[in-house]
Amino acid sequence: MTFSSFVVRNTFRNKRRSLLTMLSIGFSLLLLTLMMSIWRTFYIDQGPPDAVKRVVTRDRVSLAQFLPAFYREKIRSVPGVAAVVPLTWFGGRYKDDRSQNSFAQMATDPEEYMKVATDKIVPPEQVAAWQHDRTGALVDVELAKKYGWKLGDRITLQGTIFETNLDLTIRAMYHIDPPVRALYFNQKYLEESVPWFKGQAGFYIAQVASAGDVAPVSKAIDDTFHNSPQPTKTESQKAFQLSFVAALGNVKAFILLICGAVVFAILLVSANTMAMSIRSRTREVAVLKTLGFTHQRILSLFVGEAVALALIGGAMGTVAASALIRWLTHSSLAIGIPAGMRVTIPTMLASLLVAATVGFVSSCLPAYNASRVNIVEGLRHIG
């Protein structure tokens, strides 16, 4: 029998205890992996390659303040800008007030929209149909699936910010991974229904040539409007989205707090198990010593056992987290969950590393105590 198989056998000799410990560690690591993935999506990921080439220009002071329509041509004239479209949050009500029925609705310019939204895949004939119908709408395939919409269906959006109801016809559907579940329609239709809105837009999205252009172009755009009555704030699409996350409160501290609690909890669980398991084997340790096992050997035996338990629990947790996130991002229940969330390989490895470290740390003291057991006393010990 080799040393490692001895460790494995010992790990599973009290099956119930090992299973419970692994489950406990597994659930904690599931949470840890979830938190790390959220962190990653918010603060590390740069988003899909097309998104890093987009900048958002909005009113310097408030997103609720509209920008004049002529800003669009001024933005277009900034060197490095390839295309620019206006977007306005309609914020209408579909069917009723329930949060399951709320989704993003944006007024935009269909003629140019596809040049900016290069990562949305739409059949060309559908784009043409959308552009030709002033009351047409472009919707996410996932959204259409959720509500059972088909091309040509008519839907009504009840305005809350704008005092009008829009009757829209679904003309085109786009595929995008991850899904964004938004609806786009022609800004001209909104202008006709709400005359005071004419000549304005909520914000502008511009496509720049490369990711390196984002910073200089953003600065150039803001400089253009610096001395105008309505200065702007331009930032990358990612930063723009992050400002909504920041509004939720101190998300970073929140995540760190939960992670800290989770790590400490698994440390306790693991230490507890090891202490129990080692205590019940005091006599055995004495026997091993009589057989000639050294301190170090016995120490590594127990530490190895703890690390193995933690690793198996950790692996179960990360796999479960990954499955959970995959399911969540594709289910219609996912309200407010960032669509691009994934459990990446580095995140999984980080979780496993945490698990292994916790196993190691938690077993050190009990294992050390066990390895120091006096043979005679140990043999006398009644478990």
Binding site: L23, I25, L31, A247, L248, A275
Partner: protein, 387 residues
């Protein structure tokens, strides 16, 4: 006959290490749950305690928030003539037409910028909000570029002290006073003169909303309906208290995340508690058999072990509550889902929160303790005595 509880207490004391570690594990889970519940309780308080039952808030038909609403200023004159409105200290109808905009302010600790609600109001605006108290400086003067800020705005944002100037709209505004809104939604606002604000935000043609102060809550209800029924107005009246109660759902993201986190941690802790209890049962096999021989029934043993597990959980819950108490009253902010601006609220460890935390821990104890206790009660006496 039941086994005395002191038996369990002594057992828990005997294996101090195990007890403390398991209880701490439960305590950590409870801490997280308390944190989340306290957040929600604070948020709830911010909205529920907002508004005066005698105030009728008037918005454009169909709009859900003051920020989205807007109507022509000529309509305001029609409103003030409606019956049921109380008189202010000068004998005029107690009404205030207001303008609500959202501005961006940098956080004091440098963690970015936050949307803050700015409210322009008429002089009666202060009188019809009796729950709001001035705690420092003075109120703003009509016709001046002056603002008063809430005390949490003062503590959370830079340039918000008395004597400072804030930059928004078309220029600078002097901070002249600080008010205390008692944890209500006004706690996140900056107030100034409505006409000055309207000029700065190019909104001189109308107002966002109007507040009508009725003589009593019953008159307020009638006034609300009168506004809605008046065909000339095309407006909607609602009680101010109802308006804020509806915004409580801003806490929904925290609620969902909190629920998921607490449940996952609770499952993990239940398994840990189960482990401890199984170990306790295993160590005491012979003891349990002896108890049986002495005449204690199976149900008595089952109850005894479940009780022990519950005590362990209770210990954890108490430790968790103690750990969280220093954070009671800590202020934080979140975005109001309706207005997009920040709502400031504080962590509230209410008796309700503490009670739910204990209940939550006891459920963990019950889930974790039942199977081991069942196991203990079902043991064969002879084999256990020999073991």
């Amino acid at each position: 006959m039941a086994i005395p509880i002191s038996y369990n207490v002594r057992n828990l004391k005997l294996r101090k290490g195990l007890t403390v570690m398991t209880a701490l594990g439960i305590a950590l889970t409870v801490t997280t749950a308390i944190f989340l519940m306290a957040l929600l309780a604070g948020l709830q308080r911010a909205f529920v305690s907002s508004g005066d039952a005698k105030n009728v808030l008037v918005l454009r038909k169909g709009s859900e928030a003051e920020l989205q609403s807007g109507f022509d200023h000529t309509l305001f004159a029609t409103m003030t003539a409606l019956p049921g409105i109380a008189k202010d200290s000068r004998g005029e109808p107690m009404v205030s037409a207001e303008l609500v905009v959202v501005i961006v302010l940098p956080r004091k600790d440098g963690t970015g910028e936050v949307n803050v609600t700015v409210r322009g109001m008429m002089p009666d605006g202060l009188e019809l909000r009796p729950s709001v108290k001035l705690i420092d400086g003075r109120w703003f003067q009509t016709g001046q570029r002056e603002v008063v800020v809430s005390k949490s705005i003062r503590s959370r944002f830079s340039h918000a002290n008395i004597g400072d100037t804030m930059e928004f709209g078309k220029g600078s505004w002097k901070v002249v006073g600080v008010f205390d809104a008692g944890g209500s939604a006004y706690e996140s606002e900056v107030w100034g003169d409505v006409n000055q604000m309207a000029a700065d935000f190019d909104r001189t043609d109308g107002f966002s909303s109007a507040y009508l102060h009725a003589t009593d809550p019953i008159a307020a209800d009638a006034l609300k309906n009168r506004v809605g029924d008046d065909q000339r107005l095309k407006l909607e009246g609602m009680l101010e208290t109802d308006y804020y109660a509806k915004q409580t759902n801003s806490g929904a993201p925290i609620k969902i995340i909190g629920f998921v986190v607490a449940i996952i941690m609770a499952i993990g802790s239940s398994f840990a508690a189960m482990n401890t209890m199984y170990a306790a049962v295993a160590y005491r096999g012979r003891e349990i058999a002896t108890l049986r021989v002495l005449g204690f029934s199976r149900p008595a043993i089952l109850t005894s072990f479940v009780l022990e597990s519950l005590m362990l959980a209770l210990l954890g819950a108490l430790a968790g509550i103690l750990l969280m108490l220093p954070f009671n009253g800590m202020q934080t902010g979140t975005s109001n889902a309706v207005t997009f601006s920040e709502v400031v609220f504080s962590l509230q460890i209410t008796p309700m929160v503490a009670a739910s935390a204990i209940a939550f821990a006891l459920i963990m104890g019950l889930v974790g303790g039942f199977a081991p206790a069942w196991h203990a009660a079902r043991q064969n006496i002879l084999t256990a005595l020999r073991g």
